[in-house]
């Protein structure tokens, strides 16, 4: 039955399969290229000086991004202060208490907030908080973490089987204790995973910092003062005309991506695919 039409159909099928393979390769190519260039341009600049020194005046070679790295860490801490309690407790509410309608509203709001462009967060905090400061930047990032963590927490808590709760109730344990000591503890690993993923996401954000952190060439010694952060410094350096700063921008980008990917991959490996769904 080697009718020409059958051969044509088979050919079409192989052709399309080949095309799809090409698509898949095409999709993975940018990733490979980005990595390749990051390593090529950034790895050589990634030395101890880079990690521990402050920036030098423009056109003077040397110096590093130490204050930016520490600044990012500081902002992450501040953001966590805001985002983690609200996110985790809110997620607990959604999963353990709450009426269906209200839950839907909160989930809907969380999804909308997740889809909000990060620059909008920056400009909103700019309107709310006077002056450029670490507090403002931390707040903006914290606001971004809240919807992410709430969804992750809710999801992980929902995975805990009801039988655990029922058994605890049967023993007469107060509800709040059940939630904290039993359900939360069981879901704990997943929730922490969610928090780490949110942290990775928020560390890479630049747009919210544009209107809040302002940047600082020195160590930030007062949280109500402007602060430098890694993505912000990378942005500044990349747009500057100095080749030395370009080199440092690549190195900074490498540091940033190592941090973000290490968290992401590490988390995935540890949970073996059962990581919580953060929003998109």
């Amino acid at each position: 039955m080697n009718h020409w039409y059958h051969r044509w159909r088979k050919l079409k099928s192989s052709g399309v399969s080949g095309l799809c393979l090409l698509c898949a390769l095409a999709v993975m190519t940018p990733l490979a290229l980005v990595f390749f260039h990051l390593l090529k341009a950034g790895a050589s600049s990634l030395d101890l000086a880079f990690l521990t020194q402050l920036p030098t005046p423009p056109a003077e070679p040397g110096g590093g991004m130490a204050n930016a790295i520490v600044g990012s860490a500081t902002l992450l801490g501040l953001a966590g202060l805001v985002g983690i309690p609200v996110g985790v407790l809110g997620g607990i509410y959604l999963s353990e208490f709450g009426a269906r309608r209200r839950n839907w509203a909160v989930r809907f709001a969380a999804d909308i907030l997740n889809g909000t462009p990060s620059i909008v967060w920056g400009i909103v905090v700019y309107a709310l908080v006077v002056g450029y400061s670490a507090y403002a930047a931390g707040l903006a990032l914290g606001f971004m973490m809240i919807p992410l963590i709430i969804r992750a927490t809710e999801e992980m808590m929902a995975l805990v089987p009801n039988s655990y709760r029922e058994a605890a109730f049967a023993l007469g344990i107060p509800h709040w204790r059940i939630v904290l000591n039993i359900v939360l503890k069981t879901a704990g690993k997943g929730i922490i995973t969610g928090i780490l993923l949110a942290a990775a996401r928020v560390t890479g954000e630049t747009a919210p910092l544009l209107f809040t952190a302002f940047g600082n060439d020195l160590w930030n010694r007062n949280l109500s003062q402007p602060i430098e952060a890694l993505p912000l410094k990378i942005f500044n350096y990349a747009l500057s005309p100095y080749d030395d700063r370009h080199r440092q921008a690549w190195a900074g980008a490498l540091v940033l991506i190592i941090f973000v990917l290490a968290l992401n991959i590490g988390v995935r490996v540890m949970t073996r695919g059962r990581a919580p769904r953060l929003a998109r």
């Binding site: 088979k10 079409k12 993975m28 208490f97 009426a99 909160v106 309107a127 990775a200 890479g204 747009a207």
Partner: protein, 328 residues
């Protein structure tokens, strides 16, 4: 007396809250968690209200003129967002045009064609792409992508297709098309993820039936999977579009930052998001700030609309959402 009546709730765990009323600790805890959950609603209201209040001055001064007029003049206090709206629309649609076929092809490959051992690692790699911070991609864009585009593809494009009005003129590489390409790279993972979920939701019995009828691999995919998934794929595209619209940093770095109107695709431009980012350090005040808020409000509304639409389309499929963690 049933538990739901006692606790007055209809939530999934209402039946378990028998011990709740009366215990002080429970009341405090519930109140605390309820407050935190409400924060989300408050936050949404806050974002909306801040943007609306902030744009009030600009809205009242320019009205709908703001959307059809194109200008950004802090000196004389005249603002119009048409060019930004146009650039946002064009770059996002172009990005979708580029990304959608590639994503769909990849999703088909990953769900239907790839050998089993390849699937998870490949998907993980693609999700890694989603995790790349926008500014990192922007750095790569400025120093690698744009120079390459400027030397190679763009002159060819102009040479062969220069008869089209949209492709006629000189280019510096920093243009709307470059922005579209970089946005496409950023939305590939998310569309691929969702398309994959949509395809996986199609029961195998459909495929088996098609095979049983003697269909080739491609025909199985076309008849059993794609036809069934159209709505979900629309949702995936919408979600990609939503993400594309809000993309800021990488776009700012390659779009050329120009407020001048042009139909030329290889001309520099400014999207809503990149214009807002370009105001970095300007310390805008008064009308200028209000116009900026109005840009933000537009961006928010349009992103929310596409996200809601996407959700409706995907939700209907009952497909799972992915673990994407991109940073726009």
């Amino acid at each position: 007396m049933n538990a739901a009546a006692v606790s007055g709730k209809t939530g999934s765990r209402a039946g378990l809250a028998l011990a709740a009323p009366g215990k002080a600790g429970d009341r405090v805890f519930r109140l605390l968690t309820w407050l935190m959950a409400m924060v989300v609603l408050v936050l949404l209201a806050l974002v909306g209200w801040t943007l609306c209040k902030g744009s009030a001055l600009s809205l009242s001064k320019f009205g709908w003129h703001f959307f059809v007029h194109s200008n950004w003049d802090p000196v004389n206090g005249d603002y119009g967002a048409f060019w930004f709206i146009y650039c946002t629309f064009v770059s996002s649609c172009l990005a979708l045009l580029i990304a959608l076929p590639l994503s769909l092809g990849t999703a088909v490959y990953l769900t239907e064609l790839a050998p089993g051992w390849v699937r998870q690692p490949a998907m993980s790699m693609i999700e890694m792409l989603a995790a790349i911070p926008s500014v990192v991609l922007g750095v790569w864009g400025i120093f690698v992508l744009v120079p390459w585009l400027r030397e190679g593809p763009y002159p060819l494009l102009v040479k062969h297709f220069g008869f089209l009005p949209v492709l006629r003129g000189p280019t510096t590489g920093f243009c709307i098309l470059s922005a579209a390409i970089i946005i496409a790279i950023m939305i590939l993972p998310i569309i691929t993820s969702i398309a994959r979920e949509v395809f996986r939701a199609v029961p195998d019995s459909q495929r088996e039936a098609a095979f049983a009828l003697g269909a080739t691999r491609w025909e199985v995919t076309r008849l059993a999977v794609l036809r069934y998934s159209v709505r979900g794929l629309f949702g995936a595209a919408m979600l990609g579009l939503g993400r594309a619209l809000g993309e800021t940093m990488a776009v700012t770095m390659v779009i050329g930052n120009s407020d001048k109107i042009s139909t030329f695709l290889l001309a520099p431009g400014n999207t809503l998001a990149s214009k807002m980012a370009a105001e970095y350090g300007e310390t805008p005040l008064g009308l200028h700030l209000s116009a900026l808020f109005e840009l933000g409000l537009m961006l928010l509304l349009v992103t929310v609309a596409t996200n809601i639409l996407a959700r409706l389309l995907i939700g209907a499929m009952g497909a799972r959402q992915p673990t994407g963690t991109g940073a726009p």
